[in-house]
Structure formats: structure tokens, C-alpha cells
Amino acid sequence: MLKKLFGSVREYKKPTFITLFFIVLEAIIETLIPFITANLVNSIKEGSQVIDIVSTGLLLVLMACLSLACGGIAGFTCSKASAGFAKNLRNDMYDKIQSFSFANIDKFSSSSLVTRMTTDVANVQMSYMMIIRTAVRSPLMLIFSVIMAFVMGGSLAFAFIAVIPVLGLGLYAVARKAMPAFRRVFKKYDNLNESIEENVRGARVVKGFSREEYEIGKFDVSAKEICSDFTRAERIVAMNTPLMSLCIYFINVVILLIGSQLAISTGGEGFDVGQISALLSYGMQVLMCLMMLSMIYVIITMSSESMKRICEVLDEVPTITNPDSPIYEVADGSITFRGVSFKYSIDANRFALENIDLDIHSGMTVGIIGGTGSSKTTLVQLIPRLYDVTEGSILVGGVDVRDYDLDTLRGNVAMVLQKNELFSGTIKDNLKWGNENATDEELVEACRLAQAHEFITTFPEGYDTIIEQGGTNVSGGQKQRLCIARALLKHPKILILDDSTSAVDTRTDALIREGFRSYIPSTTKIIIAQRISSVQDADMIIVMNNGRIDQVGTHEQLLNTSEIYREVYQEQTSGSYRDFDTVGGEAK
């Protein structure tokens, strides 16, 4: 997992290594500083010449400057390395997601992808920074300090050896105990936030039922629970500070007690006041290092969850890729299904589509009707290879769809999705998704065909009207027509509308279909609809039921042959179904 992740460091390896180099240098200097200060202290005490004091002082200043330079450079490069690593991770994930097929996309919810690319990456960035700054430095400083302590204090340094394992184990135990407690709390915390979100989103429901006080009471219970759980976890962690203090105090007392006796009994030979103060400094350093190490342990364990979630995205294998020697030309808009069966995942025990055989000639208008779960959408999604068939094959223009270059295939098979999206930007920007180089005339033409031109021109800004995120400032019917225009701009050989006019009134719907007939006669049109009126004039209507083709025929034929079709037709013409609002909405 780590290897996969660190693969994204790339060009930031250099600042990473520079950081490590300077950190090591800084650590060495920092451990030397107390050593030299000890000399300084001793020489002051012995009443040495001012010149000696000054020269030792200058040496120290020089070292401080070096240490500052090293620390400064390392601080800079490590920021660059970690921010760059995060940037690469985000780019890699984004690129990866772009290569996802529909099957891959279905696996991750969009909100989870957002969290992975933001919060999770931020966590990894922080721990990477911690690791390169302290993971090398702390053990190094620890070892240096202990060595120096022995050099200066001799056997007195055994006080350190006694304290280190006690503190190390103590810190580890605290971290070990606190971790699961924290994980539990975080889970509850997520739930709390979810319920807040429900209340924000459902404010009208809460108020409509006068449930404000009830919700406050419910919130209070879970918030209290989180408070007490969190407190418990933090109180475990809060043992770190006293533990540290205890060890520092112990070392200080031992050094002062034994050190002073030593200094007296040896008469200052080899062990003196300077050594005492140096040992005190080293003691501090050792403890800081251990503290840092325990922090690293906590941070790494905390971010390991994030690492796992990032790797899940990076490790995902796109289920659909370009063939080795792809075909770049689509001959015509004919479509053939040969014994096609399909299931969404290999483990699924039920086929979503079974044994589909179909022949659609180029330029035909084909309607598809069927209830929810009858796999209408599934059927058409196989044509532009949004999913691959499980068994059988699909030919477009006489060639298996799996042999085409993906961009070529999808450029020629335009699909207007059921759950469609506009993106923030102008109407023009959105339309140009269909064809980046489209001229204004082409845009207008496509919009006329999709019956969108008229309402666009009523906007003060016309084609330059800004669409808000999610397309919230246009009505459902307007959004659908813009999406159709966007698809038309591709000049596709096959046009698939997946329930794309459900919010458009029947008259406009008919005008759109009429336009298709007269302006793009050679394009194969496949229309999935809930309304019989949307498909009844098609050359061929497919009635789907439970993943199978129930009947194929024209409107008149199906009224005789298909019970399902007849039922739907009767239900709709009896007037219980027709969508009224949009009629009012779109009428002039």
C-alpha cells in the first residue's frame, strides 16, 4: 500500500531527500550544541580569558547559523515535498477516475470520491510532512543524545537508559489504548454529522411537522454521547503530559543529585558544572524525541485509514479500455445485438439482460418502453460501451463495439443520460461539450432542433447565461432540452435519448421528434420513454420486461400482440397519468 502511495511522490523525491539531508545535518548540529555550550560554561566558570569565551561563543553562533540554515531549508523543502506529493496524489486519483468505466463509477459514491480527494489526501499530506521531518530526525537525535550523554556524563547517562524504555512503553500504551477509542468516536461523529445534514436538508419537513424540539432532544442525546466518549478518549491521551513531566523530573533529580556529588568528589576533573547543564539539555532532547515518535505513531495510524481509501481508488482497475489496434471509422448507424446477456457484476446471480437479439437499421427511429427494472437503460448503455456485454456481442456499423477506439465510438453514439448534468459555466460552454469547435450558427441550429433556442433567447444574456452548479437555475424541461442540444452537436450517427424528455411537455416533445425526422434522417434514433406518445410513431418499438424483450413491433402491432404495451397505453390514455404541470409550464 505504501509503495503504491509513494509512487506519487515523483518529482518531489528531490525535495524529500534534500529535506532528509538537512534534517540529519540539523540533528547533528543540534546535538553538538550542548556539548560546546558545556565547554563554554566550564570556561566561564574557570575564569578563562575573555578571548576564549568569545571564540567558543563564535563557534556556537556559527553552528546556530548553520542549524538555522539547515532547519530553514528543510522546512521549505519539506513543505514543498509534502504539498507536491498531495498534489500528485490528487492528480493521479483524478486521472484514474477519468479512466473509470461506468461499472467503476458505480462502485464509489461521488461524495466518497470527494472526501478521498480532499480530506484523505490532506491527512496523508500531514503525515508525510511529519514523517520526513521527524521520523528520521527523532530516532537520530535520540541516538546522538544518548551517545553524547555517555561521552559527557559517563555512567550518569544510565539514568537515560532507565527512563527511555519506561517512557517509550508508556507513550506506546497510551497511544494504543486511545486509538480504538478515537476510532469509535469518529464513527459516531460521522453519524452525528449525517443527522445534522438531514435536518438542514429536511428543514421544511421538521418545521412542517413541528418537530424542532423533538430534533433538538434527539441531537442532544447523540451529542452528549459523543462528548462523553470523546472525553474518555482524550483523558487517556492526557496522560502523556504528566508521564513526560515525570520522566524529566526524574532525570533532573538524578543528574543534580549524583552529578553534583561527582563534580565535588572528582574536584571538577572530567566532570563539572558544564557537564551537568549539558546532561540536563540532553535529557530534554531525549524526551522530546520520544514524544515526537509517539506522535508519529498516532498520526500514521490515524491516517492509515485515509491511505487505504486513497489506494482503493488508485488500485481500481478500469473495466473498459481501448483495444490494441482500434478502428477509427464508424461506417453507419446500424446496430446489431447478437445473443447479448449482461450482468452488472460477475458475482450477481441474476442477469440484467438475457439473450437479446436485435437488428436496427441505420436511420431508424426506435422506441423502448418498459417498467422500472426492465433494463431499458441497461440495454442502450451497452451500445456506446459504457458497460461491456457479459455474453454475445454488439455491432455498430457492422463492427464489434469492442474493436472501436472509445472516443470514436462515443463520438458517434451520442447518449443523453437519464440523470443528466449541466456544469457551471455559460450555456455556450455547456453546449460546446458536444463539439469544442462548434460555430455559433451550429449551436443555434442544434438548439432549434432541441427546441431550446426559443427559451435561451428569452434570457437577457442569451447563450452567455451562466448555468449554476447542478443547473439549478433552469427548469427540468429546459435542462433536458439543453442536454439534447449538447448531444446533437456531436453530429452522431446514433442518438440515444434515455427518458430525456420526461419533463418536457408533449407538444415540445413532438416538435423535437419531428425535427429529428426532417433534419437528421440518417441518424439512428433510440428513444426510451415512459410516455407512449413519445414512441408511438417510431419505426420500431421494443417492449422490455424483466431484462428480456417482450415484443418488438410498431404501435399498431403491439396494441394487438403485447399485453404490457396495451396496459400501459390504456393507463395513459385514460387520463390518470399525463403530466400536467409541464404543459402549463412550457406553454407560451
Binding site: T37, V41, I44, Q49, V50, I53, G57, L60, S67, L68, G72, F76, S79, S82, R90, N91, I97, F100, S110, V114, T118, S195, I196, E197, R201, R204, V205, K207, G208, F209, F219, C227, F230, E234, S245, L256, S260, I264, V273, L280, T372, L386, G411, L417, W433, Q469, G470, S475, G476, D505, Q530, Q572, S576, Y577, D579, F580, D581, T582, V583, A587
Partner: protein, 644 residues
């Protein structure tokens, strides 16, 4: 979401601009003291104790070294030990006190921090629940959520880390300063000069760091927004083979984020080494100055009256380290303080929002009607409701709830300068169905928003059973009005919990009966755990039609005399559609109903149809009346059918 008033409102407009405001800090501290009048001072005392204990050892070190210097020439160990032991014991005593203080402080801090956050959250949530619908319509939901998550988190940092660190470091500095002055004024001045340099540098670099941290937050938001939009539309991206372009756009935004993040951390990361090494240099300066004073035999100026000696200089060197370390710690908190203040501002902004006002005094009560036709209030659930109306002259009248709702000449605008409803009058007699028909934005939803007082009218009047709805307590008014919205909102919990949401004291049996009535029971019993099936994420595991059925059952349990229905427009298949429709029809039986109609059958079966255009009712009447009139409605109706 489709039916919300325009986002940009004068008083709403989400502004996440962080003003540097020390008032927020003051208010936070004041709140801390109000919530924890005992614990907070106790914590401060503990911090002071441990800070003191951190300074005291320097005095002992000085004494110990003085003893060493005294006995070293004679190597009189016994004499030295006799003097040493009491000193060391004192030290151990001081340490013990400090240890106790540290333990108490750390434990109390954990309690106070979490408790404080709990209280903040509770205050926020309680205030939020009491805000008018306008607040939710004019603030981005993501921004509101971020107040609960990110902003609260910055406050956690402040309370648990930054504030204690500030108190501790500042008090250590003061203690140490006193000890310094006790030994030598001259040396103290040397150190203070160094500290001055450090604080100037901290301010400069820390300020830069804070600036870039803010920028980083902004670019993070921008990146998040872009990713969110693209992830939602990922399938469209695939269909249009737009992957390459979308990746290029992302790289540009990502690069900006990198730039800000890199700078923010670079400032923060270099600050530490700079302060520490200024400290090292200061150490040397102090040592050299001390050495000079010592060798030159300069006269000392001090509180203690001690002359320059090695036993003064060594602790001074230690104190220099302490000073530096503490200032370094303080400077590391600058970022979190700045972010916490911005966060606290947003939290207070939410808490300070004006809650929904309610001057209503007419309440909804259960009553019984005795043989003589007198209305008597009762505690039992009698299924007969009445408005309890206290009058100014002290009399009390009861009016039976019938469901007669009248809007007379109502004007309304979401903004004062833009009226969206003009002179709307609607009369609904008990049991009547009133259908609203018209284009998106014609004002259908707006009218229903006024009836349950999600918004208040600008002009005109609304009467419920003859009572001005402004006189009715909002809770009671809304309890008497059921709503089924276009967008179904369910809550985490079981299916049963969600149905019971309509009436909290409903028994399981009543909930199941309501489900059976509206035709939801069939699919619920087929769920893996039936009525106990847990829903999360707004019922993501259910189909749209199923969610609607639960919402209808929820309204049925409430059993209100008046219903407001907003039919869903989104297409669900004919079969489910028919079930939902039947459920709706059941729900409408025997009630006054306002329905924003999308289905012809609903419109046809209504007693009165209101055709709305641009905030005005342009036609009204029954289906047959309107057809006969051959006006707008007729055009809509026939125009649609001609084409089939």
C-alpha cells in the same frame, strides 16, 4: 431543491470571508467562564502551578551549583551532601506539586474541551432548528455543515491547545522573568533584547503563514467544489469523452492549491528553526555577556543582591533556553488561533441569527362535544380538534377545526423589492380540493409556503377557520397542516421511526395501519427487516417511489384536517406511479387539500383549479367550468392532447 427562491438574498448570501476579529476570542473566553465557572479557574491555577514548577528548578540548580563550587576545592563530600539533600528534597517536593497540577490540568482540560464543544454544538443546533425556512433557503447547505464540522474543529484546537499553551507559556515567561530579575537585571536586559527580536520575527513570519493558510482554505474549497461537480457528472464526462479536458482543468486548480499549501506550510515550518536558533545565538550572547561580566568583575544589579558568579550564569543559560522554547511554542499557535477566530465568527454568526418569531396565542386542543353541543377541552386524544382562542377581555372561545382556509388579496415577495405574488385570493371550504396549475416559477409553491407560515405575507390576509393565522401559534398551525413535499426527506432510523415522525405518540399498530391505508405496507413488509429496516442517507437504499410512499404514510399518521401536497414531477414507472397516486388519493379523502398538481387526474378531480401565471391567478374554477370558458386552461388541456 427545485422549488427554492433565488439564492442571492440581501441578508443571506453566504460569505465565508474571515474577518480578523478579536471580539470572537473575547466572547469565547467569556462563554468558557460562564459554562465552567469553577473548572476554568481551577485549570488556570493548575497551569500556573506547573508553570511555576517549571521555573523553580532554576533556583535550585543555582543553589546546587553554588554548593558544588563551594565544596569542590576541598572535595568535602560529606559537607556538600548535608547541604545538598535538603535542596534536592525541596526540588522533589516542587516537582511532586507540579506533577499533580499537570495531571489535574490535563484531565480537566479534556473534560472542559469536550463539554464546551458539546454546549456549542447544542446551542448551534437548537438555534438552527428555530430559524425560519428563509435561512435554509438562502444559505448553502455545505456552508452550514462546515460550521458544524470544520469551524467547531478549529475551536477545539483553540480551547484544548492554543489557550492553555498561551497561558502556560506566558506565565512561565513571567515567572522566569522574576527569577531573572532576582539574580541580575543586566543579564535580564540582554535576554529581553533577544526576545524582542524573536517576537518581531514571529509576528512577521507567523502573519505570512496565517495569510497563506487562509488562502489554502479558499483554494481547498475551490478544489472541493470542482471535484464535487465533476464527480456528480462523471457519467456525462464519459459519454462526451471529456476526460482529458476535465483532467486538464483539474490540474490547473490543483496547481493553485499546491502553491498556497506549499507557502502556508513553508512559513509555518521555517518559523520553528528560526526562533530556536535565534535562541541559540541568544544563548551564546548571554554566555559571553555573563563571562565578560564575570571576568571584568562588573557590579551586579539584582533583587537578591548577589554578585556575578558562575552559579548565576548557569541557571541564566537554562532560563534563556526556557524563554526561547516557550516563545517558540507560542508562535506555533498563531495559525490555529487565526483559523479558530474565523471559525468562531461563523459559529457565532449562526448562533446570533434571528430566530423565527411567533406571536401566536391561539392553540390547537383536543375537545369533546357534550350532548348540549358545548365544546369541552380534554387531555384525551379525542380526534376532535378545536382552536382555543383567548380574547383580550379574558374570555376563552373554542372553535372546532373544520379546515376552512381563505387567502384574501395576498401580496408577497421573498425580497421586499420584488413582489412575486400579486393579489392572490383562494377560498378553500372544508373538504375541498384546490389544485394549483402553472409554469415553474408561477408561484405555486410560494402560496403553500405562506399557508403554513414558512414565510409571512407582505399584504392581505389569511384566515384559518375564520382566525387570522398570525394569531395561531406556529407549532399548532403546522400541526394542523400536513405536508408531502416533492423532494422526499427521510431521516436516519427505522422505517417505523420515519412513519411515526408524523405523530410521535402513534403506536406501531397505528403506523402500520396508515401504511396499509396509503399502500406502503406491501413493499415495507417485503424489505429485509420489514418496518425495522434501517434507513440512512435519506433512504438511499429505497427507490424514489418507495421513499414517497413512506412520506405519504408519515403524513397519514399525522392525520391533519388540512393537507398541502406537492406532487413529484420526476418520472417513476407507471406501476409505482399508480400506487403512489392511489396513496395520495387516500390521503386526500375527507380533508381540505392544496395540491400543486402535475397529473391530469389530480387536476380533474379537484373542486377548484387555480391557474397561475407570473404570480397572479389568471383563471379559477372546476375542470368543466374552465373547459367551457375556453381560456388558458382550455388551451393547455386541448393543446396537449391535439398532438397525441
Amino acid at each position: 431543491m427545485s422549488k427554492q427562491p433565488p439564492k442571492a438574498m440581501p441578508n443571506g448570501a453566504p460569505s465565508r470571508k474571515p474577518p480578523m476579529d478579536l471580539k470572537a476570542l473575547g466572547r469565547l473566553v467569556k462563554l468558557l467562564f460562564t459554562y465552567y465557572p469553577v473548572l476554568i479557574p481551577l485549570i488556570i491555577v493548575c497551569i500556573l502551578f506547573s508553570a511555576g514548577a517549571a521555573a523553580i528548578p532554576d533556583i535550585f540548580i543555582q543553589k546546587v551549583i553554588a554548593i558544588v563550587a563551594k565544596y569542590q576545592p576541598t572535595m568535602d563530600l560529606a559537607g556538600a551532601t548535608a547541604e545538598l539533600v535538603p535542596q534536592i528534597l525541596f526540588l522533589v517536593g516542587a516537582y511532586a506539586i507540579s506533577l499533580v497540577a499537570v495531571v489535574v490540568q490535563a484531565q480537566l482540560s479534556a473534560i472542559v474541551t469536550q463539554g464546551f464543544l458539546y454546549k456549542m454544538r447544542k446551542d448551534m443546533f437548537a438555534r438552527m432548528q428555530r430559524l425560519p425556512v428563509r435561512y435554509f433557503d438562502t444559505h448553502k447547505h455545505g456552508d452550514i455543515m462546515s460550521t458544524y464540522t470544520n469551524d467547531i474543529d478549529t475551536i477545539r484546537q483553540l480551547v484544548s491547545q492554543s489557550l492553555p499553551t498561551a497561558i502556560r507559556t506566558l506565565s512561565v515567561v513571567v515567572f522566569v522573568l522574576c527569577v531573572m530579575l532576582y539574580y541580575s537585571v543586566w543579564m535580564t536586559l540582554v535576554i529581553l533584547a533577544g526576545v524582542l527580536v524573536m517576537s518581531v520575527v514571529s509576528k512577521k513570519i507567523g502573519g505570512g503563514s496565517a495569510k497563506y493558510f487562509m488562502r489554502q482554505q479558499q483554494s481547498m474549497g475551490k478544489t472541493e467544489g470542482y471535484v464535487q461537480e465533476m464527480m456528480n457528472g462523471q457519467k456525462v464526462v464519459k459519454v462526451f469523452s471529456h476526460e482529458g479536458k476535465s483532467a486538464r482543468e483539474f490540474k490547473a486548480i490543483n496547481e493553485e492549491l499546491f502553491d498556497d499549501a506549499y507557502k502556508a506550510h513553508a512559513y509555518a515550518n521555517t518559523l520553528g528553526p528560526i526562533i530556536m536558533n535565534i535562541g541559540n545565538i541568544l544563548y551564546v550572547i548571554v554566555a559571553v555577556a555573563g563571562g565578560l561580566f564575570l571576568t571584568l568583575g562588573a557590579p551586579n544589579l539584582s533583587i537578591s543582591g548577589l554578585a556575578f558568579e558562575i552559579s548565576i550564569i548557569v541557571p541564566f543559560l537554562n532560563m534563556t533556553k526556557q524563554f526561547t522554547g516557550n516563545i517558540n511554542q507560542l508562535s506555533q499557535q498563531i495559525n490555529s488561533v487565526v483559523m479558530a477566530l474565523a471559525g468562531a465568527n461563523r459559529v457565532f454568526d449562526l448562533i446570533d441569527q434571528q430566530p423565527e418569531t411567533d406571536d401566536g396565542y391561539v392553540t390547537l386542543v383536543n375537545v369533546e362535544v357534550d350532548e348540549e353541543g358545548n365544546i369541552v377541552e380534554t387531555d384525551k386524544r379525542s380526534n376532535i380538534w378545536a382552536w382555543k382562542h383567548p380574547h383580550q377581555d379574558g374570555t376563552l372561545t373554542y372553535t372546532l377545526v373544520r379546515g376552512d382556509v381563505r387567502l384574501v388579496d395576498v401580496d408577497f415577495g421573498y425580497r421586499e423589492d420584488k413582489t412575486v405574488l400579486h393579489g392572490v385570493s383562494v377560498y378553500a371550504e372544508p373538504g375541498q380540493k384546490v389544485a394549483f396549475v402553472g409554469a415553474t416559477g408561477a408561484g405555486k409553491t410560494t402560496i403553500t409556503n405562506l399557508i403554513n407560515r414558512f414565510y409571512d405575507i407582505a399584504d392581505g390576509k389569511i384566515r384559518y377557520d375564520g382566525i387570522n393565522i398570525n394569531k395561531i401559534k406556529k407549532d399548532d398551525l403546522r400541526r394542523s397542516l400536513g405536508i408531502v413535499l416533492q423532494d422526499t426527506n427521510l431521516f436516519s432510523g427505522s422505517v417505523m421511526d420515519n412513519i411515526r415522525y408524523g405523530r410521535l405518540d402513534a403506536t406501531d399498530q397505528e403506523c402500520i395501519e396508515a401504511s396499509i391505508l396509503v399502500g406502503a405496507d406491501d413493499f415495507i413488509t417485503r424489505l429485509p427487516n420489514g418496518y425495522d429496516t434501517l434507513l440512512s442517507n435519506n433512504g438511499a437504499n429505497l427507490s424514489q417511489g418507495q421513499r414517497q410512499l413512506i412520506a405519504i404514510a408519515r403524513a397519514a399518521v399525522a392525520d391533519p384536517p388540512v393537507m398541502i401536497l406537492d406532487e413529484a414531477t420526476s418520472s417513476i414507472d407507471t406501476h409505482t406511479e399508480a400506487i403512489v397516486q392511489r396513496g395520495m388519493d387516500k390521503l386526500m379523502e375527507g380533508r381540505t387539500v392544496f395540491v400543486i398538481a402535475h397529473r391530469l387526474s389530480t387536476v380533474k378531480n379537484s373542486d377548484v383549479i387555480m391557474v397561475l401565471e407570473k404570480g397572479r391567478i389568471i383563471e379559477r374554477g372546476s375542470h368543466d367550468d374552465l373547459i367551457e370558458k375556453k381560456g388558458k386552461y382550455y388551451q393547455l388541456y386541448t393543446g396537449a392532447f391535439e398532438l397525441e
